[in-house]
Symmetry: C2
Subunit: 480 residues, 2 copies
């Protein structure tokens, strides 16, 4: 694959162009031959594998299992829940023919799996003994995007997981919603080092067909909010039309309570935007496919032999200690070229080994986040590397957290509100609770309510727009 | 999920019905709400995960990387390689609308990814330095099946992996084809315990657009051949229409050589058919999601407490030793009911622990393949279990190998050939090499050439049908 030059624009000068360059030049994704779609490239895929493995392990630990449902969904299924259908239909890719044969019931290319899954669930669930049903699907979903393509953020197809669970009571469904949102938060904050706000969506922005939606929201460097993962209590909105009923211990028939929750490769987009710098990507160590890259430094052939041997040894001992270490032993590139390449790819830590390092029984370490250099005695290498990777992880999170804190502002007046929104921040303000007022705010400022925090905050003014009695403290922002 | 009764037909009396019952009752798959499609259920999915993990690890070890390409492919891409298009077009699901908007170029729901991938490859590959390109995609492909649905074997959508590599020379592509076929063979014979024949397809049956196709073929208990995995040398058949060219070390432009190879969840279908018995599935230990199931046996509450504690301890020590052990501690079912359930699910080894076992410091083991019982002193448990699981794995393979050997027959006369085909075997016979003759054999007997072995076997007669000079020793059979 061609690797021309580095990133040619600065992150704070042309953020959109910077983003596109990092995505493509770091080998994360490429535009596909079909408009609106991307190819997830090997390096991007290996980050996705780590996200997937983390979520997969955590949800299995708490009793979930994986399944796979068809990629095509009959239109008649989608129509069973009216809001759901209306919400999705404008963006559905419709299959109308199989070979030359025209289909009587059109098929939707999976925009989400609620309806096809719940058709099966209604057959599987008979008794309280069959509950809870805790399933998850790893797949891709398709939604026709007529607007501009933005890799990972706005594409007509994306990889994700969708969990679909069934419970006997609303309380159990409530618990499930928070459990999975908590797993998402762990991934996003602890692994991806991206701080988020957590809360509920308003009715206007909840998932079509849900009782309520919970969300994690991050703030990107351009001041736009990004929804990182959502978890919905579907109530009985689907169990009633799909007939998902169980005979309870009371020997009576009850409609079940359901949840669904999803997290997509959009998290990779956030990771790029939040942590990257003018040199390219910075991948937090805990999610990095390559945590440490070794670059041999030499002038003569004798030195080369010595240095290659040494760096291979160092790398092997790191791998044995559980680190993901890689040696760039390509002879056709200079060390300087390699530094740029791996900085662009955001490998958190670089090791340089040259003849002098060998002589002194040291190696040189360079951090990707701060470019700090340090020479470390070989004997202390493993301990030091563990420590430094931990520091990088922490530093990336703290940097992002400071940004989020600085960019979360509070106001009681609509004039200030508008200015704040314009400046690209989360605005905390009081709201009357009226959807019409919320819509007017969106129309007038471009900002919508990203979330109502879970822990009720104290009301500190009237509604920021209409001046009526406030009912909620809400976080507003302009979103992607 | 409802778990009614066990398998109600015998494998050798109604094989098709037996298969369907095992698939659904063991919780491997269920028919979906859309005709021709299935749902991969949690137990089936966990077997697929093990197949996936094995292939994924092995291909990465030899330098392959994963990527993801779009699920929709413009018709114009498919048309670029004429044979390929003609081969796939009768079974393509066509997307004609996005929302309400009619598309100008119809989109195929991915029947295979050659064309969409190679469109990208042509942009990525410029120089010999970009080669080899070794990519693999885990996804699902869709092909409209108008005939009867048979879970895992004949469905309109299936999960698989497809590898797509690009090389500088034909020789390198040849090597890649054999390398990946070898990995498939390792999975199928060593892990799934299914013996196969290996060889080349004739031109009549090669992949549409390939230079040649290699295959692994197994024989099912009903005497039908099943293609388990294929690996193709695509030659320059795609690189020319797609313009996949590189500047060589000679500074001249060359068209690249390509391979593609795929293995699907069909292997799960083979596993069911080959190893299952009248009680249900038998999963070879190396691929089993649950290798050992523990069943507590007790009468009084005191015994229950004791037995639960003991069996949990045993199970924990097995898990620590690296085995996949599970305790069925459900109180609402009797031990007898549980025995049937886990036998149906094919767990290779059962441990029973009752008060007497505890007293004697023993456990009772029951093998799923032979139903042999043994009492083992607790202190030798780990060693014994490792040994017994190894024996089960071996026994399953050998049983299947004996069947394959007995059912592989040789003939020089067409009369005998027809009778042999009718009896459900692989027939080894000499063939003139003429496609028309091969087609006539298929029309007259229902058998086609499953493969020509890699190691040229000595010709022992004229062509079995036409009596002309033979050119190949071929293996014939009737396929699914």
């Amino acid at each position: 694959m061609s690797k021309d030059v580095g990133i040619t624009v600065k992150k704070n000068e042309d953020f959109a162009e910077w983003y596109t360059q990092v995505v493509t030049k770091a080998g994360l994704a490429d535009y596909a031959g079909i408009r609106g779609f991307i190819v997830l490239m090997p390096y991007g895929y290996s980050i996705w594998e780590r996200i997937r493995d983390f979520i997969d392990k955590r949800i299995k630990e708490v009793g979930h299992q994986n399944a796979y449902f068809p990629a095509l969904i009959p239109e008649s299924f989608l129509r069973k829940e009216a809001e759901h259908f209306t919400g999705f239909v404008p963006e559905v890719f419709w299959v109308t023919h199989a070979g030359d044969e025209e289909l009587s019931d059109r098929l939707a290319v999976r925009p989400t799996s609620e309806t096809i899954a719940y058709d099966s669930y209604s057959k599987w669930i008979k008794s309280w003994r069959d509950l809870p049903l805790l399933l998850n699907f790893w797949n891709s979903v398709l939604r026709a995007e007529i607007k501009m393509t933005k890799p990972f953020i706005r594409t007509s197809e994306y990889l994700w997981q969708e969990g679909h669970t069934v419970h006997a009571t609303k309380e159990e469904a409530d618990k499930e919603v928070m459990l999975t949102l908590g797993i998402y938060r762990e991934l996003i904050e602890d692994m991806l080092a991206i701080p988020v706000l957590a809360g509920r969506k308003t009715d206007r922005d909840k998932f079509v067909g849900a009782l309520y939606t919970t969300t994690l929201e991050a703030l990107m460097p351009d001041g736009r909010a990004l929804q990182m993962g959502t978890s919905h209590n579907l109530g009985q909105n689907f169990s009633i039309p799909f007939g998902i009923k169980y005979i309870g211990k009371d020997e009576k028939e009850h409609y079940a309570w359901q949840t669904s929750w999803g997290l997509s490769w959009r998290t990779i987009g956030a990771l790029i935007m939040v942590h990257g710098d003018d040199k390219g990507l910075i991948v937090p160590p805990k999610i990095a496919p390559i945590q440490i890259v070794g670059i041999p430094i030499y002038y003569t052939e004798d030195e080369q032999r010595l240095v290659y041997k040494e760096i291979e040894e160092v790398s092997r001992s790191l791998r044995q200690a559980g680190f993901d270490a890689h040696v760039d032993d390509r002879e056709q590139y200079t060390p300087g070229w390699k530094f740029n390449e791996w900085e662009m790819k955001g490998v958190p830590l670089r090791i340089e080994v040259g003849p002098k390092d060998i002589e002194k029984k040291e190696v040189t370490l360079v951090r990707r986040d701060t470019f700090d250099r340090a020479r470390i005695p070989k004997e202390r290498l493993i301990d030091e590397i563990g420590k430094i990777l931990g520091e990088i992880q922490r530093n990336l999170f703290e940097r992002a957290k400071r940004f989020l804190d600085e960019r979360t502002k509070t106001t009681a007046t609509y004039d200030e509100f508008k200015k704040m929104v314009e400046s690209g921040v989360f605005v905390k303000a009081c709201w009357c609770g009226d959807t019409a007022c919320e819509t007017r705010i969106k129309e007038e400022t471009g900002a919508d309510i990203r979330l109502i925090p879970f822990e009720r905050e104290e009301l500190f003014s009237k509604c920021v727009r209409c001046g009526n009695e406030a009912r909620e403290v809400a976080y507003f922002g302009r979103a992607y």
